[in-house]
């Protein structure tokens, strides 16, 4: 007779064992690049390509990246590059939220002639390769004085952040029962008030999730800051690759250290708003 299972306990079957092994294997596979990067960041120059797991660990690379030597190697102050990324990406997300939330609400609640085309057009910003449009963008930016400026970067990053925010939040507004706003309207609220006081608070987790996702996408963007900025508005992604070196002198260890430091701000942000993020990502997951 089979043993009675306690709550939360699983029966040990070949399928369950296989599933557990598969999950562990997947985690190892998924996390290995991060582990490899961490190991690389702890190696000195001589051991960076000659060792795998046995080496003399050092934290020196992290110090070098943030020091004057790092600046001399790359012509960029890495600390400033991080601040610039926070400014560029934070600014881009803020602008996208200010414009994108009302746009997503309108797109979720109203259908008018060409509304689907408009949404599709916005989505096309995401799937058009950036290199395809970079030459005309570069010409426009240099001619109107936006090249290598924070304002210019915030503007161009709208191509990254705006479609994400509008499309994600549109689905939130669509999933939200319309009756709530109708009730508010019956109570004498204006449409604007119904939006700000009823609809908006309900999609707050969605806003957090969309903002974080778009922040990460903007943070990881490489082509726009590479081409449309030099030193004044350049971001952390471009600064990281400058540690790669060239001409037979490669600093993979410094690049890995820079990449780990560069990954911290979005990670901290994600942990800070984790509560909203979980709510936001699971919102609308169970529907009738």
């Amino acid at each position: 007779m089979a043993t009675e299972l306690k709550p939360g306990q699983k029966r040990l079957t070949p399928g369950a064992i296989f599933a557990d092994i598969a999950i562990v294997a997947w985690f190892v596979f998924a996390l290995f690049p991060i582990l490899w990067m961490l190991l690389l960041a702890l190696k000195n120059d001589a051991q960076q390509t000659s060792t795998y797991f046995a080496f003399s660990p050092t934290l020196e690379n992290f110090g070098t990246v943030l020091s004057q030597r790092g600046t001399d190697l790359t012509s960029v102050d890495f600390k400033s590059a991080i601040l610039m990324s926070i400014l560029n990406c934070g600014g881009a997300v803020l602008v996208s939220l200010l414009i994108g939330i009302p746009a997503a609400y309108a797109a979720g609640r109203y259908r008018f002639k060409g509304s689907e085309d408009l949404m599709f057009n916005m989505l096309s910003f995401r799937f058009a390769p950036e290199l395809m449009v970079i030459v005309p963008l570069f010409v426009i930016y240099t001619q109107i004085g936006l090249f290598d400026t924070v304002f210019g970067m915030i503007w161009v990053l709208q191509l990254v952040t705006m479609p994400l925010i509008v499309w994600i939040l549109r689905s939130y507004f669509e999933d939200m029962p319309e009756d709530l706003e109708q009730a508010a309207l019956l109570d004498g609220y204006t449409r604007r008030k119904a939006f700000t006081m009823v609809a908006l608070p309900l999609v707050r987790p969605g806003i957090a999730a969309a903002a974080l996702l778009s922040f990460i996408f903007a943070w990881n963007n490489y082509v726009f800051p590479l081409i449309l900025s030099d030193t004044a508005a350049s971001t952390v992604t471009v600064a990281i690759t400058k540690f790669l070196g060239g001409g037979g002198q490669a600093y993979y260890n410094l690049t890995a250290a820079a990449a780990l430091i560069g990954a911290l701000p979005p990670l901290v942000l994600a942990l800070t708003i984790q509560r909203y993020l979980v709510q936001g990502l699971s919102f609308g997951a169970v529907k009738g």
């Binding site: 010409v139 669509e174 037979g248």
Partner: protein, 469 residues
Amino acid sequence: MTSPSRGFSRRDMLKAAGLVGLGSTVLPSLSACGVGGGERHPNGASEITGSFDWKKLSGQTVRILQTPHPYQQSFQPLLKEFTELTGIQVVADLVPEGSYFTKLNTELAGGSGSHDVFMVGAYFIWQYGPPGWMEDLKPWIANSAATSDEYDFEDIYEGLRTSTSWDFTPGSPLGTGGQWAIPWGFENNVVAYNKAYFDAKGIKPAEDWGNFQQLARDLTDRNEGRYGVAFRGSKSWATIHPGFITQYSRMGCKDYEVKDGRLVAGMASEQAIEFQKAWVDLAREAGPASWTTYEYPDCTRDLGNGNAMMCYDADSATYPKNKPGASKEAGNLAWYAGPAGPDGSYATNLWTWSLAMNAASKNKLAAWLFIQWATGKEAMSKAVGTAFADPTRKSVFDSTFKQTLGAFPGYLDAFEKVVGSSKIQFTPQTQFFQTTQDWSVALQDIYGGDDAASRLRDYAASAEAKVNV
């Protein structure tokens, strides 16, 4: 109120695919035509009159676009000396090697002139020169109001001066037409080897191609993680330009020959097929295990780690691995010219990082003063004392640079043996990057099992069609 329909119809998807397809076809074509950069800029040298004065533009700023390299790094601390000499501030922007030409190409196509001076390799002149993106520096060199009497352009090795000069007619020899860049640093493609291992086993470097192949095979022991010779094999034009084209040229093979005004491909001649088959066999039997992914950092890494016993690549790419503490085999490496051709030829392909002036620069004299200073005797002499490899000036090589080569056995001998026949061994043509990458793919296919003769005949026909458009 109705809720909008969600999801995409098949028609939407087709529309999207069409738009992307159209965009990816039309936009690169537009940019290739020089969208925004169509304007031809007149040469600025004739505007400079009077006597030469380094301080003529004191207080101005010059912007430089560079990629990280020992050349650039050795000059970085000297930039303040240029400012002291001229009063001109230097803003140097550094772009990683992998993205450098994407950025440079965009800037030049955009015609912005946002950087006055940029680093460029000789082959890139064949692409950036014809649209008028580069300033011809010949009139600047000839203008005594713009160029110091001490500059001595002829002191730069002849093979380098000609490699950066061309008249833009496909097949026309290098050294004709304008001077589109000034060589700043360069590298010869020779063989670096593990001297400590060779000495311990009583092995001498092989001086001819047949012995070189045999030696590489004899040195290979996969069980011990050791193989004979590292050279590049990835899908890139850069696979062809170092050891491969050097040995190809030494064996007397040609990429193209001009016949009746047309370029005729020579990669499928009997002699060329025989060499290329031998090259691929060498890669398979005595080269790196994953040869088709190999780029120069992989080759030099294997040499430095003691996996590769020889490396046929740029001398200055292998040079850093011998610096104390830089690699496991630091101090154990040595250089020699590599195997000679059947007729004793040491024809060698070179790479030169040169400095060029943006034709759209609004600050051309400042740009020229910077190029003149950076490629001048004094600054180059100072730079070679730190990390600079292979100075482009004979006077600097003979004086300062020779003194730094004590710990690099054979480097000097190899250099002196090949420098007289070191030049760009390719025939200049505007489709260089596409056709040369195709060449690397042909070699990969042969490595994968294709018949060498038929694959190279296909490649030669396709390349010939492209270069004669």
